[in-house]
């Protein structure tokens, strides 16, 4: 059974780029354009990994991660942050909210895939 990944980004470019890349590597991918719609998806379905941006219209990414972790079944779900933010201060806040790994844009396909394989065992 395919592992499922949720991509959360308000940029259609990033959502489609990641969807094509991850689908091509054997994952089932869904996407959301913000924290609210992502939380709604996660309430109805369990994803194996969530990849999220930080600066999005509506809910800030770190707020989203904090709320995601409180949903039933999501406390241990790995969360990757994919963002242009690179300060240690923000990374610490992400870690405190429950983020697993941090990727400063742009992502390198080989490195991202190794990280995904590490947390999903895929």
């Amino acid at each position: 059974m395919k592992k499922t990944i949720l991509v959360v980004d308000d940029s259609a470019t990033v959502r489609q780029q990641l969807s094509v890349f991850l689908s091509g590597n054997g994952f089932q991918v869904e996407s959301a354009d913000g924290g609210d719609s992502a939380l709604n998806l996660c309430r109805s379905k369990k994803f194996d990994l969530v990849i999220t941006d930080l600066n999005m219209q509506g809910m800030y990414g770190i707020t989203f991660i904090g709320q995601l972790k409180k949903l039933p079944g999501y406390a241990a779900t790995p969360v990757f942050v994919l963002t242009t933010e690179s300060t240690r201060d923000v990374m610490e806040k992400g870690k405190a909210a429950g983020a697993t790994a941090w990727n400063v844009k742009p992502f390198r396909p080989d490195i991202l895939m190794k990280g995904i394989q590490k947390v999903l065992g895929a």
């Binding site: 940029s11 470019t13 094509v20 941090w102 990727n103 400063v104 844009k105 742009p106 190794k114």
Partner: protein, 294 residues
Amino acid sequence: MNGRVAIAIANEASLPRVTSALSALGFDVRATPINTWDVTHVPDGTYVVAIDEGSCPSAAVKILMELRRERPGVRVIWIVQRDVSLHSFAECQPDYVVSDAIDPDRGWDDVAARLQGKGGMADVLVDRLLESVREGLDNAFGVSFSLHALYVRAASDIETTVTTLLPFMGDTCGGHLLVSGEPAGFTDVWQRLVPGTEPELWELQDLAGEMANLALGRVSDALLQPSSSITMGLPIYMTKSTSLLYRATSSGIVIRGYAPESRLSLEVFLKFADVTATDPSDDSRALGGVLHWI
């Protein structure tokens, strides 16, 4: 600056004004009517050449390009009556641009400050900024921009179909990034990122915004203290001609770039309250493209 040679190139009507402005900055000025221009008029040791585009911008562009080729060490001031195209800036790369039409009384203050090493940003900081943005956009989108910085009051006339402007504000600086171009150029970039798809106009605007977003991350990396950050505003999408007017102070900077292959333009406007370089060896910011386990 006393004793340095400056050459003023302008039409007959503007020549006295340009000569006077350069003399006031302490230069030994040699006036040259634009119709008698010859690159051999620029002797070794000339510090600066000021070109007034006047009513003949094509002649100014030709002179500037010849100077870049034949006298690469000379600093060039380009006096414009209105803003010239982004393409022309990228092609000619003047060191300073003075826009008389926008602020005739103060335009020369910025040039004087820069020539005297006051105000503005250290060259090393500007170089780091340009390299960071250039490298980031090339890595992420495969678009090679030719970038250069201007210390100016300037205006931009935007006449492209796809333009996204991303405002931002930080502890020590504020400004905006702007990426613009025609659909064909953005479509080429899009199809490199998402092969086999045909993007709609709104998706191309989104791509322009994502390019601005990535460039902003690189600006932040290059300029800000490790502990400081910038807050990004909502992207502004424009689909028709518009004009932007910047009133930078001497600590303001406009970076303009052009990617000839895809015919995309990039503009960064930065205005600083206090510019401080970060230590290049400082590793307290995360690296782009690398997955950091936290």
